[in-house]
Each structure stands twice: as structure tokens, then as C-alpha cells.
Symmetry: C2
Subunit: 629 residues, 2 copies
């Protein structure tokens, strides 16, 4: 019997109240029907998150910078193996708690339309096509390739038109044109749904053109299930249903909010609003058939995950996969491919025998490895440690400054600036590790950047770091600037004054090894920017303006510092296009390396329409197909 | 010309105001006399602190547990080399900021009279003789052995009768008998002064029998400079002079407080109270000759440190000493010797090939390595990492619980408990790393343990850890319990239920290597408890009661869980006393190891009167002199 029919059969034995209960993210057991309690909330953005030890891969924005969707597929496959292994153990407790299940509320395929958005690093960047390709690869990796069962469920989020401001998200109305809606904000959702068939979609907090996303007839009924043919289940963002009456003030109470959401196909509620469904039913706001439809979709999903079957092949995955040597090697590989060389005057790669000053608040930071929505690595390598392990010369470490607190010259706290100046003077070269950390750009409530609820006010380095930067440059030592952040910062000074500039998006537990592999030339850098690096936030429209005009490489009319797709190599390549889809890539330098072929359309605006990353040994030529698929 | 005469000559050229200026910890420059600005405040409790990269040795209480004062001397020698190297670099800036100078406000030789005191881990424990020996070794190591110059200044603190409560320290009056004063609270001060001639003594915040310590005629004039013959300088604790009028209410204002302190020989002020000295002088509260005496003592100290000379041999110490391979090896050695084996049913040492679950909130904690008053290691090894590096079998890590926050079964935060249970079940043996961290026991204002201003309310593990502990024991797997704390906790359950119990005081940057060396039998444990491990705080007098009655092994009349001096080995020893000072120590087991000979007097109360730590190869006999010196 197929899963749809089994779900119908199972739900047909439930009372109305039981059906409503299954629509809560913390679904209770129905022992009579052999249904254990199940908490639907799990996270897997770049590794199984919030569930203890796991391989912590680079943050999503870093994976996007690899421009290697085949590798992202491998990563997602590894993540879902770890999630399965954990679930297989956890379920021996009889029920499944939060962060222990198989339903992953990942990936985040929102468009990083403005660099000030604190959660931008959870996304695959600013381009709908790149986001679609990466999202689809991730979904396929999470869901597996078994013909019968899903390994885990992937959830596309946040549907839709969601990218800050964090502080306003519970009441914000994103006003957007039809062209921007389809051409930008929904494009990756459509791509992923058609290509990868995700099990679920999560509705966003905000409204779009007046309609709350989690209860929007336009977005959910007409477009998602109608035009896009999505046949999975929809889950609300956490607390988003209550926002409809409390903050959006579109309905008059939680019963109305719950009813409106279910009517438009929001099947599962993260939060407590669906406890009002019975009240809504009794008022006639919602009918049993709509409840039944949602319950059936949810039970079908659980059945398809093999939760009620004996023979699911994924049941045999054991904890040996978690942080296995293979996963750690894969982690190092994608971390290497995610680092972007923005400038190099020839100083890189280093010989390794130099005396190196490693300076800056991000040099020995564990937090920048992990980003947000992260697991716990049982072993991790900071940027400093990676350099220490790989260097054959002396390494002088100095923190130099706090990430954002400025030195008080008369205060009794530490004064790290002078140590850094002295360390630089004692060294041949400085690796300066600056930028942000996930406490400075993140989600509302998580981030400590309370001035902007997780968002950034501008694209500047914190003043504490600017002071340190200026003093280090003054020493006259060559500076390799490693910017660690999940978003664009203004690196104009660095581009002018430093010998080399690297963009290291939050790189995961193997970040230090990966950076050292690049610095010392074990591998050539091959990452590309998945976002435009602007010179200033002043070049951008207002943050609350959701029009794409003047945003991203597709519509920006100014001069960026580094464009979308920028990324240097230690070798050189020549591309020879044989036709619109076929290109010969010749490695004209002396080092084997990865190269990414990018194919852009120019009309009506610049638009990435294809890419392919290939390994090309030095001196050799590889023929590549770059299809828009 | 000797330093005293040079100081007199120098000070004779100063105006009264200039002399008063030199009595502030942030002493201004007097360019006319070639005197640069100098900030007296530096810290070196277990490594150069708050001044960037440095070798971070085990916390003071851990060093005491080594019972190896020769090794502590080596550590202090290494620390003062690092302080000198830093000063030699910093002084190129022309002036010397906080934490960049040569005047170390260490060691803390207060008596750890009650395990609830948050700062107890800064001390050498509960015994005056052990504290004196360790303190003297530390002072000698800091000050060096040059016949002319001091390498750095050591400062005995906090003089006197200072050990909590932290929340009351600015107004507290410690009432103490003459017998407890001399027999307990002043004994280590006297010992260190007579044996090691420290440059400085720091006055405490509190009062003793009504007199504020930093302005006490009894403590400073009569006892310290009179009876003990101390001829160095006295510095106030930070802000302590203002406490005299603001909180002790012994004087009527800051001018009176400053005058009273200087009159009793408190030469240097940490804080701002001495800015009132001119007002005090103008009111006739203090005379110029007293100001001159203090200024002379301070300038003599700076002269003796070679600050104004060309030929000081310590000027040639370079930054190569900081975290040198020799210092890192020394750090690992003292960390090994500081770990105390409290119980062993034979499970230790491990073979190394077992599957090991490493569980607990302190397993991968950097904070517990560093304790407080710490520097920054450029490389550190957590307990988990040390075990991972040394084990040949699989290591399953699970944090298990937050250090003190309890799991909310319905909350959206992580639920680490189950992972830990599963990790234990999957393993042959559990290494359970629990205890406190420096945020839970520390100084007023530093510690996050806001319920008690840094002190502990009892000797219990936090409830979150008790829950985890109980669940792990229930798995039936053998548990090696590693208690990481700077003080006694109630380990009665662990003693009864665990296969082995280790006390790991905050062990420094090499802590993980040291623990692994012990667990896997690379070395035998040789640490001894420098404090009594009680069964409960209920067995103790009130925390505010400074009578020694009922406290420490010397006066406690109950049954401790583990007595002062307790510590097991992997081998066995036989002692054969030839006379009151000479003992033959035979290693009757199969492993070379350190052994500590302890010599106690029994009347009028138990009292350690001698100890000596010796290396005894297996099967061999070593003859040792144990003199009370």
C-alpha cells in the first residue's frame, strides 16, 4: 500500500482532536494507533545542529562560495547520515525530542538581498540561480536516493520574501513587485521544488504585500501548491501563526489565525497557535476535511521516513558515521573550496618558513568556526591553530583587540594593542584575522548586536578592529588580511594596503586546516563570492526596501569593490567556448587546481545561468558542459 | 651608590606633589628627572596575566597540590622570564601601561580556611606551612637570584585575614584571636618574608579586629614592619583606601583615609584615594616626611628592578622565552604533578584501547584550563582533546549538560542528556568531567555566580550535573570521575559509586595532556590534596566566622571524605624513618614515580611541619632529608 493510502487509513482512525494534535510540532503519542510522540523540529543547516556532537561543516554562505554543488550534495548526504544515526539511537527512548528527529528545517534559500541582514550567512547568497542549484543539491543530499523511503526531510525556508530587518520580522510587510517576486524571491523555491522535490516548506514570519506568509492564499494556495505543484507539507516558522493576530493584526485572535493558516495549507505549527484549532472548529472557522488533509500530509511524511516500518534501509546507519574520518576529510575539502582569494600581490602562497604574526580577534575564535544553527564538533581547528600546525617557522600570536569593545586607555581591562604591534614588528609577515562573528550578525534574539537585533547598521569593521588594523599597517610589514564574516564588509582599505586579502566565511570545524592549506599552497584557492562586496552601505537602497533595484550584481549600478563571482587562484586558466554549452578549460599555470566556469546572460540584466566547477591539472585541458539545468 | 641612597637622592629632587604622584599605581612621568610613566599593576598568579600570550600554568591551588616547591620555583622563574621579556618590549613605547610592568601582585598566600570562598583557588590551600613553602618558592622564582637586581617584584597578598565572603569584603570586619592570627593567618606571611624577602605586600579590603588592613597600625606598623622586619613597600588592594571611609566608615573622608594609610606605611595606592593626599597635607593630617619615606621606598624598588640602569642582566631576556618549548614542557610536568587520584579500584591506568565516553560540561572547556588571573595561551589542550590525542580506541564525546543550567524538557534549547547516556552505553568506560568553572567560583564582580558574589553556597555539584551523573551511573558502565574545581566539592556519591575519582584543579594550558598522561599511565599520579575534602558544608562553622575552630585538617573534628594530604599512586611506597629528619623511601611497586613524604606534628593539633617530594624508581630506595625549614 502506498504511503498516501496508508496515511489516509491511519488518519481515518483518529478523532478530530487527535488529528489536530498531530499538527503541532511537538506531536503527542497516540498509543492506540502505535504512534509515538514526535518532535518535528530539527536543524541541519551545515551539520546536524543543537543535538550534540556532529560534523560542523562550513556555514551555508561558505558552501555557496565553493560553487561546487556536487560537493554540497555530498555534504548534505553526510549530514543526513549523521541525523539518521542520531535518530536511530534517540528513538530507543520511545519518543523523539526536539533536535532528535528526521525532519530538518533546512536549507535556508532566502535571497541575501542586502548585506546588512544578520541571517544572510544562513543562505546561499544573493543570486537566485546559484541559490537554486545549491538548495537543490542540499535537498537531494538530505532526502537520499532510496526509491521508497526518505532519509530525512528537507524544508525550504523561509517562504517567502524574507531577509530582514530582524527586529521587525514579526510585523513587517514586504512590498514586492510581481517581477521581483517571481524573478528573485520565489525563483530558488520553484527551482528546488521542481528539481529536488523537498518534503516541506516553512512559511516566513513577515507579510508579503499584506498577506501573512504562513496563511497567505496567494503564496501557499495559489503559487506553492498551484503553480509550483508542491505536494509536501508546510510548517510555520516558530510563533509565526500568533504573529498574525498579535503583530500583523490581520486577524482578531489565535483561533482566526490558526484557521486561516490551515485553510491555506499550513499543516504543521511550530508554536502553540494550533491549540486554538478546536475553538476555531467550534466557531465554524475551519472544517474537519481541512484538518484531515493536513494530518494526512503529515502522517504520509512520517510513513515515508520509515518511522512505522521495519525494513527501512536507513535504520542500519550507526553512530560510527558521526565525525567519521570520511566526514572530517569532506569537511576540510569543502572548507578549502569555500575560501575566496580576493587579492594577491604574489605574497601567497607563503613558503612556510617565515616568521608569521597571527593577529586579530578572530584568529583563535571557536565561534567563527561554528556560525549559527550549529552542532558541536568534538574537535576543531581555529585559524591560529591551523597555521601553527602547518608553519615551519615561528608563529607569534596576539589577539590585538576585542572583537568590538574598544580599549579604555585608563581602564583596568587588558590592553592587547601593543602586544600585536610588537608581534608584527618581530615577524616577516602578518596574517590579520578580523571581521565579525555570529554574535554580531545573526537572528533576532540570538545575536548580541543589540543595536540592530542581529542585523548590521553598516558594512564597517568595528572601531576596535579599525584601530588595530591601522597600527598593524603602520608597522610596514606585509599583511595578509583574512576577513572572517558571513557577509560583505567594506574592505577598500585592505584592498589598497594589504598584500593579500582572503574572504573566509564561517568555515566549520576544519576551518584552520583549510585556511592553512591555502596560505601555504597545499591547495589553490577556488572559492568565488556568492555576494557582491560593496564599498559602503551608502551605495545601497534602504534596508526595508524589498525592490531589487540597485541591489546585487544583477541590478546594482555602482562600482563594487569585488563583484559577485570574484575569486583568484594560484594558477591561471584559459576558457575556450566551443558553443553555448561546451567549454575547454586549460590550466595555463603550474599548479593543479579547481576552476569554476561561470556563464552569465546579459539581458535584460546580468544573470548567472550556468556554472560548473572542474579539477584541471597544470598544463592540461578539460572539456566541460555548462548547461542551465 | 646603593639603591636606597639613589632613591633618596632622586626623591630629594621631587616636589611634594611629584612625590605624591609617584604613590599612585599609575605613576606619571617626571621627564625632568628621567622618570617615565609607570603603571605598577601587573599580575602573575600562574603565568603573566592579562597581558596577552603567555604560558598559562596550573592555578595556584593546583600548584600547591603538586607538593613540589622546587618545581613551583621553576615555574615562577619561567613566569618572571616571560614578564621581563614582555616588559623589555613594552618599555620601547616609552611608558609602561597596566599589566606591562615588573611589579607582580602575586602570590595570593591567604589561608583557604573555608571551601565556600570563591577566590580560594588563587591560594595554596588551607595549611600555613604548605602555603609558606609554596609562597616562598614562588617569591624567589619571581624575584630571581641576581645579587644586585630583582627580576620582578613579588607581592604577598592579601594582608591579612582575608578569605571572604566576597560580597562583604569592602566593609567586613574579620574578628580573630591572637592565636589564630599568628598561628594561621599571618604565619605564611612571616615565613615568606623571612625566607624569601618579597619586595611588596598588598593590604586587604577588610578590617581585622576593627582596623582597616590598608591603614592598620597593628598589622602594618607593629607587626609587618616591626615584628616581621619587612622592609619593602606596601600597596593597597584596588579601591581599598576609599573603602575606609565609604564602607568601613572608620574615617570621615578620603583625605583622612589616605593620610591614615600612608601614616601606617601603605606606600602605593591602587585606586584614586591618594589624589586626596595634598588635601590631607594641607589639613595637617600627614607630614612631608611620611610622603618622602613612601616615595623613597617606591623609587628604591624601581631602581632595584634596573629600570634606570643600563647594565641590568635581565634586559637581555627576549620574547623567545614566552611559551618556549621548555616552558610548555615545564607546564605539562607541573600539571601532571597537580592532579590528585582520590580513589582507584584498579581501573586506572587505562589500557588506551578501550572505547571511552568522555562526558560532561568540563570535558571540552577552555575556561577550566585558565582559571582566573590568567594569560592567554596561544595553544591549549582541553581534557577531551588530551584524551583524544592519547587514546588508541574510539572516543565518544558528549557534553551531557550545561555547567549549571538545567534542561527544560519542554524548551527549545538543546537536550544534551540523552546523547550522553547513549555515548556511555556505546563505550567500555566513561570519563566524566564535571565540577565548577571560574565563573562559578571567583572574585566579587568577576564571577557569574551572582547568588553569592563569587562564593559558593554549599559544596554540591550543580543540579544539572547531578541529574547527568545519576543517569550515567545508571548505565552500569565503569565511571572515572574527574572533578574539575578549585575547591572541595561533596564527592561522597562519587567515592561510593565510581571506579576512580580524580581531582583536577584548574590545570592550565597543558591540562588535557597532563590528564591523559595520568589516565593512560604514562606517569603515576602524585598530587596531594592541599585542602580537606569535606562531606558537606553543614559540617562547617558559619562562613563569616574567622575562628579556626572546626576548620581545616588542623582543627576539624568531624570525618572528612578525603583528608588534607590524601593522594594515591599507581605504585606503592614504604617509608622507614631513620630519625626525625631522615627517611628511607622505597618504591615497592612496579612503576617509577614521585612520592611526597609528609611530616606532621600531632600536638597541640595536627600540623604539617615538613614535606619533600622525591622521584623513586621502581624497586629502589632513596634517602631523604625532611627538615622544617
Amino acid at each position: 500500500m502506498d504511503f498516501k493510502a496508508r496515511a489516509r487509513e491511519l488518519v481515518s482512525q483518529m478523532t478530530l482532536e487527535e488529528k489536530m494534535g498531530q499538527m503541532k510540532y511537538n506531536a503527542p503519542a497516540i498509543p492506540r494507533l502505535g504512534i509515538p510522540a514526535y518532535n518535528w523540529w530539527n536543524e541541519a543547516l551545515h551539520g546536524v545542529a543543537r543535538s550534540g556532537t556532529a560534523t560542523v561543516f562550513p556555514q551555508a554562505i561558505a558552501m555557496a562560495a565553493s560553487f561546487n554543488d556536487e560537493l554540497v550534495h555530498e555534504v548534505a548526504d553526510a549530514i543526513s547520515d549523521e541525523a539518521r544515526a542520531k535518530y536511530n539511537e534517540y528513538k530507543t527512548f520511545g519518543e523523539t525530542l526536539i533536535y532528535q528527529g528526521l525532519t530538518c528545517w533546512s536549507p535556508n534559500i532566502n535571497i541575501f538581498r542586502d548585506p546588512r541582514w544578520g541571517r544572510g550567512h544562513e543562505t546561499y547568497g544573493e543570486d537566485p540561480y546559484l541559490t537554486g542549484r545549491m538548495g537543490a543539491a542540499f535537498v537531494e543530499g538530505l532526502q537520499g536516493d532510496d526509491p521508497v523511503y526518505r532519509k530525512t526531510d528537507a524544508t525550504l525556508k523561509h517562504y517567502a520574501v524574507h531577509s530582514g530587518p530582524e527586529g521587525l520580522r514579526h510585523s513587517f510587510d514586504a512590498e514586492v513587485s510581481r517581477e521581483d517576486l517571481y524573478g528573485t524571491y520565489l525563483a530558488a523555491f520553484r527551482y528546488c521544488i521542481e528539481k529536488a522535490h523537498p518534503a516541506a516548506v516553512m512559511g516566513a514570519y513577515n507579510r508579503v504585500n499584506g498577506e501573512p506568509c504562513c496563511a497567505s492564499k496567494t503564496l501557499l494556495t495559489d503559487i506553492l501548491r498551484g503553480e509550483f505543484g508542491f505536494d509536501g507539507y508546510v510548517v510555520s516558522d516558530c510563533g509565526a501563526i500568533r504573529d498574525i493576530d498579535l503583530h500583523h493584526k490581520v486577524t482578531n485572535g489565535p483561533d482566526e489565525s490558526a484557521a486561516l493558516a490551515v485553510k491555506n495549507g499550513c499543516d504543521l505549527n511550530c508554536g502553540a497557535a494550533y491549540t486554538y484549532l478546536m475553538a476555531a472548529y467550534e466557531k465554524g472557522l475551519i472544517g474537519e476535511e481541512e484538518i484531515t488533509a493536513s494530518a494526512e500530509r503529515l502522517m504520509e511524511a512520517r510513513l515515508r521516513l520509515g518511522m512505522f516500518d521495519e525494513g527501512c534501509p536507513y535504520d542500519s546507519i550507526t553512530m560510527d558515521v558521526v565525525e567519521s574520518p570520511e566526514h572530517i576529510a569532506l569537511n576540510r575539502e569543502i572548507a578549502r573550496q569555500s575560501i575566496v582569494l580576493l587579492k594577491n600581490d604574489g605574497i601567497l602562497p607563503l613558503k612556510g618558513s617565515e616568521t608569521i604574526a597571527v593577529i586579530g580577534p578572530n584568529a583563535d575564535s571557536k565561534a567563527v568556526l561554528l556560525a549559527n544553527y550549529n552542532g558541536t564538533p568534538s574537535r576543531y581547528t581555529t585559524l591560529l591553530r591551523g597555521i601553527q600546525e602547518a608553519a615551519s617557522g615561528k608563529v607569534n600570536y596576539a589577539e590585538g583587540c576585542h572583537l568590538f569593545r574598544e580599549e579604555d586607555p585608563d581602564g583596568c581591562s587588558q590592553h592587547p594593542l601593543r602586544e600585536a604591534i610588537l608581534a608584527a614588528k618581530r615577524s616577516d609577515v602578518v596574517v590579520l584575522c578580523m571581521g565579525l562573528d555570529p554574535a554580531m550578525e545573526g537572528e533576532e534574539g540570538d545575536a548580541y548586536n543589540c543595536t540592530a537585533s542581529g542585523d548590521k547598521l553598516d558594512l564597517e569593521l568595528p572601531a576596535s578592529q579599525k584601530t588595530l588594523y591601522r597600527e598593524i599597517v603602520k608597522t610596514g610589514k606585509p599583511v595578509i588580511f583574512v576577513n572572517v564574516s558571513g557577509s560583505c564588509l567594506n574592505l577598500c582599505d585592505q584592498d589598497r594596503e594589504c598584500a593579500a586579502v582572503l574572504q573566509c566565511f564561517y568555515p566549520g570545524a576544519e576551518g584552520g586546516h583549510a585556511l592553512a592549506d591555502i596560505l601555504f599552497g597545499k591547495v589553490s584557492p577556488s572559492g568565488r563570492l556568492p555576494v557582491t562586496f560593496y564599498k559602503s552601505a551608502d551605495d545601497l537602497p534602504d534596508f526595508t526596501d524589498y525592490s531589487m533595484k540597485g541591489r546585487t550584481y544583477r541590478f546594482f549600478e555602482g562600482e563594487p569593490l569585488y563583484p559577485f563571482g570574484h575569486g583568484l587562484s594560484y594558477t591561471s586558466f584559459a576558457e575556450n567556448w566551443l558553443d553555448g554549452e561546451t567549454v575547454e578549460v586549460r590550466n595555463t599555470g603550474k599548479m593543479d587546481a579547481w576552476h569554476t566556469v561561470l556563464k552569465f546572460a546579459r539581458e535584460p540584466h546580468p544573470q548567472l545561468v550556468g556554472f560548473r566547477k572542474v579539477w584541471v591539472p597544470a598544463g592540461e585541458t578539460v572539456t566541460v558542459q555548462v548547461r542551465q539545468d
